[in-house]
Amino acid sequence: MKAAVVVFPGSNCDRDCKTAIERSTGASVDMVWHGASELPAGLDLIVLPGGFAYGDYLRAGAMAALSPVMGAVRAAAARGVAVAGICNGFQVLCEAGMLPGALMRNAGLKYVCKAVALDVVNAQTRFTAAYGEQRVAVMTVGNGEGAYFADAETLDRLEGDGRVAFRYRDNPNGSVRGVAGIVSENGNVLGVMPHPDRAFETALGSADGALLFQSVLGRT
């Protein structure tokens, strides 16, 4: 299996993602600069990592959503390639219009960095299948603008269609209805605020994030 991690100026979890994917799945991982207009051939997963792409100028993810590589990411997603936006990557996907809603300033106005327990709301998505009967996953959040927002109608639709993948058990940032992760209509694009890339081995406090990557890429 083959994955790529996009590197924006200001990304800071790009190498964490590469290591997390390699160690949890055995897949090979290419790093792709944001200025690239093409992605490597034969990808099974594209990850938009955490960080502060373009310094969060204007709005978190707004500039990154317009970078050259996003045209290729959008085209790959349209072909069915799995795309996962983690933290800042989730913000980029919302700004790019590839996922509904937006990420706002945390309700407490503070940057929140801690391990959180998540309900695996739907274990039948492409990104959660490996959780199987495991209904709770522990990962780390690290965000200042991590409060998910969408209007009530959109939220009803997301919930009704099983597109809420993860929900906070104890909402750390004021996300509406506790939403921590959602998937696109056709299920191949995931946005998740907590970091599976910071929870892929027990030495890190939790190995539950590995299951997310294994859901997409299997394990060799």
Binding site: L58, R59, A62, L66, C94, E95, P100, G101, A102, M104, R105, N106, A107, G108, L109, F149, A150, G174
Partner: protein, 82 residues
């Protein structure tokens, strides 16, 4: 021509910054301060043309980039020398 764009969170979207500023104003002795909203102002020069055309262009910029259609509303002013 000069243009000015004001961007605020939509009514109904909780403005946590505005709320914090409001609380601070109360603490400083202005208990009557209410409905504080914190927004963003963007000014720019745009080319020659009618004010109507300039407004349409800046509104397009707002839709594409300057404001988030999900959470923000905007107000455009055009006019004045560049």
């Amino acid at each position: 021509m000069r243009a000015k764009v004001e961007v605020f969170l939509k009514p109904g979207v909780l403005d946590v910054q505005g709320k914090a500023v409001e609380n601070a104003l109360h603490g400083l002795g202005w208990p009557g301060a209410a409905n504080v909203r914190v927004g963003r102002v963007i000014t720019l020069d745009i080319g020659q043309g009618t004010p109507e055309a300039a407004r349409a262009e800046v509104e397009a910029m707002c839709e594409r980039l300057l404001a988030s259609p999900v959470i923000e509303s905007y107000r455009v002013e055009v006019g004045g020398a560049a």
